[in-house]
Each structure stands twice: as C-alpha cells, then as structure tokens.
Amino acid sequence: MPSVTLTVNGKSHTVDIEARTLLVELLREKLSLTGTHVGCDTSQCGACVVHVDGVSVKSCAMLALQAEGTDVLTIEGLAAADGTLHPMQEAFREHHALQCGFCTPGMVMSAIDMVMAHPEGMTEEDIRHNLEGNLCRCTGYHNIVKAIAAAWPVMHGKELVAAE
C-alpha cells in the first residue's frame, strides 16, 4: 500500500493509504480532522476547502498522494493553542456570518486565502467575486462579506477600511 508524508497544521504525518484516497478522506478519516466538510462532492460547494502550500484547494478534488511533501492547513489549525480565534474566525463570530455552520470551514479558509492574496485591499465586489467557489444555503452571504471586509485590516495590521 502506498504511503504519504505531509504536514498538517504544523504536525508531520506518514499514513498508509490506498492510491484512490482523496485528500479530504485522509484528513477526515485517517487524521480525524472532521472540521473539513464534504458538501457536494462535485467541486462546487467549497465546504472542503483547505490550504495546500498556502493556497486554497478543494480537498475533495485532490488525491492524498498529490499532497506528498506539502504543508496543509485546515480549519483546526487556525486558532492559537490557548483557544484565541484567528482574526477571520473572530470576524465570522462577531458579524454572525454563519447559521448552520456547515459551509463555514470552507468559507473561512477561502476567506483567509483571498485576504492574503489581496494586500492592496478589497472592495465588496472583489470579496463577492472571490467567494464564488463557496456556497452557503443559510446566510444569503451578506454577513460573510461583512466579516471578510472586517478581517482584512486586522490580518494586514491596518486600521483601514477596505480600499475602493
């Protein structure tokens, strides 16, 4: 049986897996990191988004073996050891950017990726455009967009509102 060695949330793992194992299956079923969700299983909903080497990917559309040697970050890896939330998690809490919570792990991971990729600032339109790979059936997106806009200056260490 093939094996894969990768770093997940700062911890190295070597796991024996079938070649057909998806990255999301490795995370949920082998490493018990069930914060990453499977919503649609057809690459459309974004509930399974994690970061691989610093960029967002849909972990239901990647083989675990493709992640050999990579650094994976999941929703479980965001909060500090003392429980302090990541600024994006805190913004989601503050702005009530979730209802049922099923899409939230993927939303937060996509949101962090887009904020880091746009140091120049983001308009509301930019945020909505960058959220197109994540579906939410509860909130209507408004509070998610507000939360991301609020997290942007915190993550960039600025007290600015999003640039126009």
């Binding site: 070649a19 459309q44 990917v57 197109e132």
Partner: protein, 263 residues
C-alpha cells in the same frame, strides 16, 4: 472511485513510457476534471501518472508569442503580469475558469487535452491560431481539436507546452453557467495580421469551432454591426437543461458582438 496504481515520474520520457506501456493508464494534470470523473466511476484507469514533477510549468513571453508550460495553472496565467501585457484576453479567460480553488490546481495542458466542449482554453487556442507542443511533435490548433473530448493526441502523448501568437487585438466574452461556471457560450475574437478569427466554445455538439461567416464579415469591418445580419443556425448546437440550441445560437451572436466591443 476504483483503486489504481499511482506513479509520479520526474521526467517526461518516463511519464510517456508509463502511459505508452498500458492502454488503460491515464495522465493526471491538475485533476479538476479528472478526479471528479474518477469519483463518478466514469473511468477506470489501471495506472494514474501524476505529471506534477515533470517541470512543465512556466511562462515565456516574446514580442510575438506567449508560450505556457502544460502544467501551468489557470491562476498563474490569470495573474501573470507578462500575459496581461502581451495577450490580456488570455489572462482574462484564465481568470474566468472555475473559482479560486479550482484555478489553483487546474492546468492549461489538462484543459486542452480533455477538450471539454464547454472549456474556455480551446476557444483561445483556436481563435489565436496557436500550437500545441507534445513530447514528440507540434500540432496546430486547427488539427488538434477533433470533436467533443477528442484531440489529435495519441495514447501516451503528452502536451509539454502551448504557444499563442500575440494578436493585434483579442477579447473573450463568456456567458457562464452560474453553477458550474462552464461556458454556455464563450466567444474568443482575435484580430491578427492575416484577418479576424472567431472561435466558439460551449455551444456546438462538435466542441470548439470557428465561425467563418463572422470571421469574413469582421475581417472586412471590425465592428459589432458587421455581423448584425448574420443568423447562426441552431443545427448541431447543444440543447440541455441550461439552454436550448436556439438560445445558444442567439447567444453566439450576442457574445461575439460583446467580444468585438471589448477588443
């Protein structure tokens, strides 16, 4: 998903040998189409050959051409300052494929090799008159596309890079399916020294094709009005839950005008 043997070769010759040795072996590029296909058990490869360690990434721009390594992601092309400068329509097109996470994985070589009838890159390659370079030869766009999900590639033949001539002007206008983000109709218009070329994706049962009537009219007069009296027949166009063939025929004219305006 059925299980398979997984290989990750580190040079093109080894990958070609693996793929050539077994008719049921399949190449894995970005996997944004192929992995969903495997999950649905629509394909049952014996061996999956991961192309990610072959060194096929990178973008080279000259005054006359843009050459992109087969394993370069859509995200890289969309954000490339060099591509934006040389062929802005190509960077724009790459940025319209899927979503951020899909663009971080999906590749130009994978898209072209799959030749999905609703994919975007085939329209750019055909309209610009680009070429596909493989491990063994160079294939012109006109010869490469051979109908829906069919290309000139032989079993085990790998795309190594794709080259696009720099046009005078070009634009891509895409009418997206709002859920899948695939093109219901996508039109790439390119004004080249030899005339105007118009490639249509998402519409035809035969996959990407050139709209010769539009090309002739636009070569004489490069303006949206030049095609206002040309009716595109709906024969041979796709008809599905998203759009009827008649609606797609209408969209072809609308999206072509928008592309010309955007040039």
């Amino acid at each position: 998903m059925y299980d398979f043997k997984y290989e990750k070769p580190t040079d093109v010759a080894a990958a070609v040998a693996s793929l050539g040795a077994d008719m049921e072996a399949k190449a894995l590029a970005g996997g944004q189409t192929f992995i969903p296909v495997l999950k649905q058990r629509l394909n049952k490869p014996t061996v999956v050959v991961d192309l990610s360690k072959l060194g096929l990434t990178g973008i080279t721009v000259t005054p006359t051409s843009v050459t992109i390594g087969a394993m370069t992601t859509h995200g890289t092309v969309a954000e490339s300052e060099e591509v934006k400068k040389a062929i802005p329509a190509l960077a724009h097109l790459a940025g319209l494929i899927g979503d951020n996470a899909v663009r971080h994985r999906g590749t130009i070589g994978g898209s072209l090799a799959n030749n999905d009838p609703s994919a975007c890159y085939p329209a750019a390659l055909l309209a610009l008159g680009g070429t596909v370079t493989t491990d063994r030869r160079t294939i012109t766009a006109g010869d490469f596309f051979q109908g829906m999900f069919t290309t000139a590639l032989e079993q085990g033949e790998l795309i190594t890079s794709v080259s696009f001539p720099v046009p005078e002007k070009a634009a891509y206008a895409k009418f997206r399916n709002p859920a899948s983000r695939y093109a219901m109709v996508g039109v790439f218009v390119a004004k080249l020294a030899g005339g105007v070329r118009v490639a249509i994706t998402g519409a035809s049962q035969g996959g990407v094709y050139r709209h010769t009537q539009f090309e002739q009219a636009l070569s004489k007069n490069f303006a949206p009005d030049a095609i206002k009296d040309i009716t595109t027949p709906s024969d041979g166009l796709n008809s599905d839950i998203h759009a009827s063939a008649e609606y797609r025929a209408h969209l072809i004219g609308v999206m072509t005008k928008r592309a010309v305006l955007a040039c």
